[in-house]
């Protein structure tokens, strides 16, 4: 063992009043680097030690406010800008609905920041090597005694006078605490085989447990209660219905929301007579019609409707939309083609809603007009 380096002098008291008095005296003596250790927080100790008010409140305030602001901004971005959804007929930015979430985020960020700041900033953890660790002093003051420590790096520290001071305030068991040689010189190595083995074992255990519980455990009795339920899954044979089908057809005459049945099935001429285009021609409706036309119609009919398919002969080319026949058809007649299909053209009633079909027809009319402009259009 080399020369021991003095860390501090410690004194032990039996009652909280004595240690509070000792702390007050230490302040009077002008000691600055000293500390008091007690088994539980002592009321009035902050004042006795003349400690400034804790700064922890500011951490809570700053992180609480930034949590509130962050919560508000993310809610605003998510529900009013990035993915606006109508919920309960409320405006996209509806502040009352945000308040509970903002409150939660505020509390969460303030609490986490306070705990982390307390542990790692104010308490300076992790501190693996402290001279007071593994001393008789620490054993006692963490059970039923009260202790004061006066550190050797205090500017007013002097062995004789500190000993005298501790005697004067009636401290018992006045001891010197020394740094252990190892605590000063020891360097923690990262690439120590023991540490690496430990890391590896942690990785294996955590990933193994995760794999086992997610992929195996859930299929074992009795943990399979979520995977194996007494219910009909899609495509399964039914034991209830006589025909054995698990998936049932809707009741006869069921109409999906927003869809009216088409009454001119197989009667395109009647449809041409009866149906009237309800969509007025406007910039918006023409633009929607163009978008839908370019997606669904142009692959075969071509962007200009001239029947110039982009499919390069792999599919029979359809006739031009600029023929006399199509130009003289009523809107309703074209609607019948879009809805029912014609020859090898399939029905587009599932791809295009009723309104979208009418906008496509408006767009086709615009294309026809562009190739067969009237004299009056030039004026």
């Amino acid at each position: 063992m080399s020369e021991k380096i003095l860390y501090s002098y410690t004194g032990i008291f039996d009652t909280p009043d004595e240690v509070t008095h000792a702390a007050e005296e230490a302040v009077k003596q002008g000691y600055t680097k000293y500390d008091v250790n007690t088994p539980y927080p002592l009321h009035g100790m902050n004042k006795a030690m003349n400690l400034p008010p804790s700064k922890l409140g500011y951490v809570a305030l700053i992180f609480g406010l930034s949590g509130a602001l962050g919560g508000l901004l993310s809610l605003w971005w998510v529900s009013a800008i990035d993915y606006p959804l109508v919920i309960g007929g409320k405006p996209f930015f509806s502040f009352p609905a945000y308040i509970p979430v903002i409150f939660e985020v505020t509390v969460l960020s303030a609490a986490i920041a306070t705990v982390l700041a307390m542990l790692f900033f104010f308490f300076k953890l992790p501190n693996n090597a402290h001279p007071l660790h593994a001393t008789d002093y620490m054993k006692k003051v963490s059970v039923d005694k009260y202790g004061i420590v006066i550190q050797a790096d205090d500017p007013k520290f002097d062995e004789a006078s500190v000993r005298k001071f501790l005697e004067r305030v009636h401290a018992k068991e006045i001891n010197a605490v020394y740094w252990v040689e190892e605590e000063i010189t020891h360097k923690h190595k990262i690439f120590e085989p023991k540490f690496l083995t430990f890391l590896l074992v942690v990785v294996i255990i955590t990933s193994g447990t995760t794999y086992f519980s997610l992929n195996k455990l859930m299929f074992m009795l009795p943990f399979n209660w979520m995977m194996e339920q007494q219910k009909q899954n899609p495509q399964q044979k039914s034991l209830v219905f006589a025909d054995g089908f698990g998936m049932r057809k809707p009741v006869e005459g069921t109409i999906a929301r927003g869809f009216l049945p088409y009454e001119f099935q197989g009667q395109p001429d009647l449809a041409g007579e009866k149906l009237i285009n309800p969509i007025p021609i406007s910039k918006e409706s023409l633009q929607l019609g163009q978008t839908k036309y370019d997606i669904y119609c142009s692959p075969c009919h071509g962007y200009q409707g001239e029947g110039d398919s982009r499919l390069r002969g792999q599919f029979p080319n359809p006739p031009s939309l600029h023929s006399e026949k199509v130009r003289t058809w009523s809107d309703g007649r074209i609607f019948a083609v879009l809805t029912d299909g014609q020859n090898i053209m399939p029905s587009y009633s599932t791809q295009l809603t009723v309104d979208e079909r009418w906008t496509v027809i408006n767009y086709v009319r615009a294309l026809q007009r562009a190739l067969n402009a009237k004299e009056s259009d030039l004026q």
């Binding site: 009321h43 009035g44 305030l61 308040i99």
Partner: protein, 392 residues
């Protein structure tokens, strides 16, 4: 080490207090009587606000005393007498509810429901005049009983120093607590919610309770800090006790906001016309500004004003914020009552000043006479020494 005896020298309150109290009382009384002559209906509405405000202070203070016994709190023991004196205003509640009981037919719509109004006819088994009167008087007698029993024990202890009296009061407090919860909820429903009998909110009782306890704590804090700064209590009381008081006021400020917002959020979300019309009435015309003002006056200002630790220990700040909260509670009650009668415009004139002045005068006078006859500190209480030595 710990001495059980506490030095207490009883000091009389200056007679100036009596003069101020009497002056406020007379001016208030004059305005109230004039108001009842000029505009009896509007005065009756103000009377409801005044009554519920005084119930807040009287019964809330009794709650404060009871919760001290029940929780075994020591920090508030040196100040308990303030709560006891304030709760003695229970005696003068009839002064404010008898005029209303005489006018009950003109104030409350449910006393004479329209024949087609099925809602009110269905509610008639609860909302009828005779049951209403029974409830009002019954609740008052109940409060009076517990006030009498608990305060009698507390005063007897000054002479006998008998610790069993504290035990007795703990038991009484335990019985009083659930009765308090029920009576204060039904008081809120009877006097405040039934003004608009078609409307309902299940949290309304808690809403009124949150304001009640806040007002009781605030007026208690004013008396406690004023008297302690002038040395009317015992020596050695530290500002750490103010901190506890301020923290409690701060906590209940948040509690009020939490409850008020819960009530609003559910109604706003569900958006049902039978619930929303109550809030819409408070959002029409000038009431919109008054409603926004409620958030600022009742929550934001006290919240920011009492947020930091030093502000709870600063006597001047604590008195100011407590006065502010008393005003906020009156503002809150005004907001609950007045929009039911006045659409789109906020009534304010000399008639509205009568009841606040009258109640302020009553409270100061009652406090003065109570302080004259009794010790300002419960010197026989076994927790007193611990309360004086209270440190954070």
């Amino acid at each position: 080490m710990i001495s059980s005896s506490v030095e207490y020298q009883k000091k009389e309150l200056p007679s100036k207090v009596q003069t101020i109290g009497l002056g406020l009382l007379l001016v208030g009384l004059l305005i109230v009587v004039l108001g009842y002559v000029v505009n009896p209906e509007r005065s009756a509405y103000n009377n409801i606000i005044g009554l519920t405000f005084l119930i807040s202070i009287a019964v809330g203070s009794l709650f404060f005393v009871a919760i001290e016994f029940l929780s075994g709190a020591a920090w508030s023991t040196p100040f308990r007498r303030v709560g006891e004196f304030l709760s003695s205003t229970v005696w003068i509640l009839p002064l404010l509810f008898i005029p209303l009981l005489l006018n009950v037919n003109t104030i409350f719509q449910w006393t004479h429901p329209a024949p087609a109004d099925k809602t009110l006819i269905d509610k008639a088994p609860y909302l009828n005049v005779s049951f209403f009167v029974v409830r009002v008087i019954g609740f008052w007698l109940l409060w009076l009983l517990f006030y009498y029993l608990m305060i009698r024990n507390s005063r007897k202890q000054d002479q006998t120093k008998d610790q069993h009296l504290t035990k007795k009061n703990i038991k009484l407090s335990a019985i009083f607590m659930p009765l308090f919860a029920l009576t204060i909820s039904f008081t809120a429903i009877d006097w405040l919610m039934s003004i608009e009998p078609h409307w309902f909110s299940t949290i309304f009782g808690v809403y009124y309770f949150s304001g009640t306890i806040l007002a009781a704590l605030a007026i208690g804090a004013i008396f406690i800090v004023l008297l302690n700064e002038r040395g009317f209590f015992v020596k050695g009381i530290h500002t750490d006790s103010y901190y506890s008081l301020g923290a409690l006021i701060f906590a209940f400020t948040n509690f009020w906001a939490y409850i008020a917002f819960s009530q609003f959020l559910l109604i706003w979300y569900a958006n049902l016309p039978e619930e929303t019309f109550w809030f819409l009435a408070r959002w029409e015309g000038n009431w919109k500004f008054f409603s926004v003002g409620l958030i600022i006056v009742h929550f934001l200002v006290p919240y920011i004003g009492l947020l930091s630790q030093p502000s709870k220990m600063n006597p001047k700040r604590l008195i100011f914020m407590s006065g502010w909260i008393l005003f906020a509670h009156y503002y809150d009650l005004y907001w609950l009552v007045m929009p039911n009668f006045f659409k789109e415009e906020i009534p304010f004139s000399w008639i509205e000043l009568g009841f606040p002045l009258l109640i302020a005068g009553l409270i100061i006078l009652v406090f003065y006479y109570q302080a004259k006859r009794n010790n300002l500190v419960p010197i026989g209480d076994p927790k007193l020494k611990r309360g004086i030595d209270f440190r954070l």
